[in-house]
């Protein structure tokens, strides 16, 4: 019995991490129709910035905020300085983001070296939690909590604020949104900053579990792609639900059929693309 309960908790924890990873990717994809292939690299950059902040004795919370802000600014710069110049050329933009991700990865390698750098779990969450005969890492529960809080904030932002309304309008029909006076230029930069901010935050919050290492970028990018395609482009709720679905599929898949771990991970994505191209909750075809 214990096996199932622990694996279920594991699934939620992984789902929470996947949501922190994918929400920013989904925002940018939804509004700008660009699969931002820099996203994994930004996630990794967030983890490394947190490493540096913690070397200056910052706690993980402060380090995560630093990481989110720094990566958010980097995201804004990428949009302003590079993607802006090739707007209208979606293919070119996707290729540009791929190029930037390689550059970012090599930049991290030069600055932080090739070793895996652990990120300490905050002291108060280090001891495992015991309840009802189960033992479970406390920090993973914290991650689930952070993911839920971020999801609620994003939901309120999208549904209850003017910015959210503009973003939703842009996702549905960019030309109409422009016609009614929404400044697409500022909106794109804002969303790109926000998406990068979330990636940076995810990198730092996921740090104690993943550590910071070269290759983290590509490991994470494919997961973000799977989640967003399954959930449906342009749908935040879809991303949220898909994160937990993938969390469950991956955890139970590796536990019950370890030989087929990758098949189990990618199969839902293939099926969705083949039979429901809009994803579970989306309105836009991939």
């Amino acid at each position: 019995m214990q096996f199932w309960q622990i694996q279920a908790l594991n699934s939620f924890a992984l789902g929470g991490l996947l949501f922190l990873l994918s929400s920013g990717f989904a925002l940018i994809f939804g509004l700008m129709r660009i699969a931002n292939l820099t996203h994994g690299a930004l996630f990794m950059l967030g983890a490394y910035v947190a490493v540096t902040a913690m070397r200056f004795e910052a706690g993980l919370a402060v380090a995560a905020l630093c990481a989110a802000l720094v990566v958010g600014v980097v995201g804004g710069l990428i949009e302003r300085l590079i993607l802006r110049r090739i707007s209208g050329n979606a293919q070119g933009q996707v290729l540009a983001t791929l190029g930037i991700s390689f550059i970012t990865a090599d930049f991290c390698l030069i600055v932080w070296g090739g070793d895996t750098i652990p990120i300490q779990t905050p002291a108060m969450f280090q001891a495992p939690l015991h309840f009802m005969g189960l033992t479970f890492p406390t920090y993973r529960l914290v991650v689930i909590g952070i993911a839920v809080v971020v999801a609620i904030i994003l939901y309120l932002l999208m549904e209850r604020t003017r910015l959210g309304a503009m973003i939703r309008a842009g996702v549905d029909d960019m030309q109409m949104a422009r016609a009614v006076g929404i400044r697409a230029s500022a909106l794109f930069t804002t969303v790109f900053c926000l998406g990068a901010f979330l990636a940076g935050l995810g990198g730092a919050v996921g740090g104690p579990i993943f550590s910071a290492y070269p290759g983290l970028d590509s490991d994470m990018l494919s997961l973000a792609l799977i989640v967003v395609i399954l959930g449906g482009i342009g749908s935040l709720i879809g991303t949220f639900v898909a994160s937990f679905i993938i969390g469950f599929i991956y955890t139970f898949g590796t536990a019950l059929l370890p030989d087929l771990a990758y098949v189990i991970l990618f199969l839902p994505m293939v099926i969705v693309i083949a039979f429901r191209p809009t994803g579970l909750f989306g309105t836009i075809r991939t």
Binding site: Q7, D115, Y139, T254, A255, P258, A261
Partner: protein
């Protein structure tokens, strides 16, 4: 964007050119020996690859850029850890840079990618890649390996676990790649032949984001778990194991790359007391290593591990072989014959090769301890002159299939 190929002449060697031209007694031509280093300086494997370059760089610095009285020009190629690139770079080194001998590459899949080309070109290569069959069922006559085959060290650890630590029931876990599978299979064979039982085998994918779902499956009543991980996976696994509250409950032992010095320098107290097995330790007390390890540490700020020591040992072996043939690196057949006849003291201890080109040398059981404020793999037991075939007859050993997930079959899984 990375500088993918860099030639460096050692300062001392460059200065020595003048001396060579001044007509002092020099048996050879004035041409330097060209040594190609295939390594990885970009991407996920860069940590080990940079250490490979540093190990060789240090050797050259210590020896004034000379081997067997001739200047050596080291030409470094970055394969990025990609097999196809490894092949292109090898061709570049051989055909354009006209190297006389190669060292590297880092990963087994790179070594396999260049195998045919090495045979066709008859290019001597001193490798650090561990793939079993490179020196077993499909030995390449131009290939020598002074480090270890995948299972050469895990045979030893299995024997130690069964006979010294007296473990009866063990779990094996490793990355789901040939290296991890071969290592664990070798462990299983020797452990079970010495009275132990492997009750669970797990192979997480190489890039597993987190090990929670595997940790929850571990059989609670095992005596210990053997980690056949490479790179940083071992230490990520150990950290996550501790987060699940298994610290102290599940005993851990590791293979030759589970707690390498390169990983240890980023670890904390969670590593203390864990025994691992390897053909080297920075803490090794032999006349060569007591100089090499501290000077590596002085130059780069950390202890040499598998890869740093690997290229250093290769350089020592190459030098000895070149000395025995009067520095004539151009004569590949003579060089290869000399390499195979190697019998030399190195930073890892004495080294000879078997007829398949694989090292016969000491294997060490190490235990993580804190010394002078840093974690080291301190040597607790030495198995002298271990062959890749352990104590088996080579012919009988090679008649079996190569080690894999399914061979030898696990009969005691629960």
């Amino acid at each position: 964007m990375a500088i993918d190929r860099r030639q460096f002449l050692q300062g001392a060697a460059a200065a020595g050119v003048g001396v060579a031209y001044s007509g002092l007694s020099l048996a050879q031509t004035n041409e330097p020996i060209r040594l190609g280093l295939l390594t990885v300086k970009t991407g996920p494997l860069a940590s080990g690859g940079i250490d490979m370059e540093r190990g060789l760089e240090l050797y050259m610095k210590e020896h004034g850029g000379m081997m067997a009285g001739r200047k050596v020009e080291v030409i470094v190629a970055d394969t990025g850890g990609v097999p196809a690139t490894a092949l292109t770079k090898t061709q570049e080194l051989v055909e354009r840079s006209k190297v006389h001998v190669l060292t590297g590459p880092l990963a087994a899949f790179e070594a396999l990618a260049i195998d045919d080309y090495i045979r066709a070109q008859k290019m001597p290569i001193l490798s650090v890649a561990a793939a079993e069959d490179m020196t077993q069922r499909k030995p390449n006559p131009w290939f020598v390996r002074a480090t270890s085959s995948s299972s050469q060290c895990s045979h030893v650890m299995a024997h130690y676990c069964a006979t010294v630590l007296k473990y009866k029931r063990m779990i094996l876990i490793a990355d789901d790649i040939a290296y991890g599978q071969e290592m664990n299979a070798g462990f299983q064979r020797v452990f079970e032949e010495n009275g132990g039982k492997v009750i669970q085998k797990l192979f997480p994918p190489l890039t597993t984001p987190e090990y929670g779902s595997f940790i929850a499956q571990l059989k609670k009543d095992a005596d210990a778990i053997f980690l056949g991980f490479a790179g940083s996976n071992g230490f990520r696994f150990i950290r996550q194991l501790n987060e699940f509250g298994s610290a102290g409950k599940m005993k851990i032992v590791g293979g030759m790359t589970a707690l390498d010095e390169s990983v240890l320098r980023n670890m904390g107290d969670e590593a203390l007391g864990i025994p691992t097995v390897c053909w080297y330790s920075a803490d090794l007390n032999n006349p060569i290593n007591v100089k090499f390890a501290p000077s590596f540490r002085k130059a780069y700020g950390y202890d040499p591990g598998y890869y740093g020591a690997g290229t250093y040992v290769n350089a020592e072996i190459l030098n000895a072989a070149l000395v025995s043939i009067g520095g004539k690196a151009e004569n590949k057949d003579a060089l290869m014959a000399a390499l195979k006849k190697t019998n030399v003291q190195t930073a890892r201890g004495p080294v000879t090769f078997d007829t398949y080109g694989n090292v016969v040398g000491n294997i060490y059981i190490r235990k993580v301890e804190r010394k002078d404020g840093r974690l080291v793999n301190s040597v607790v037991h030495t198995y002298p002159d271990v062959s890749q075939f352990w104590k088996y007859d080579p012919k009988a050993f090679l008649a079996n299939p190569v080690y894999s997930r399914d061979w030898p079959p696990a009969k005691n899984l629960e």
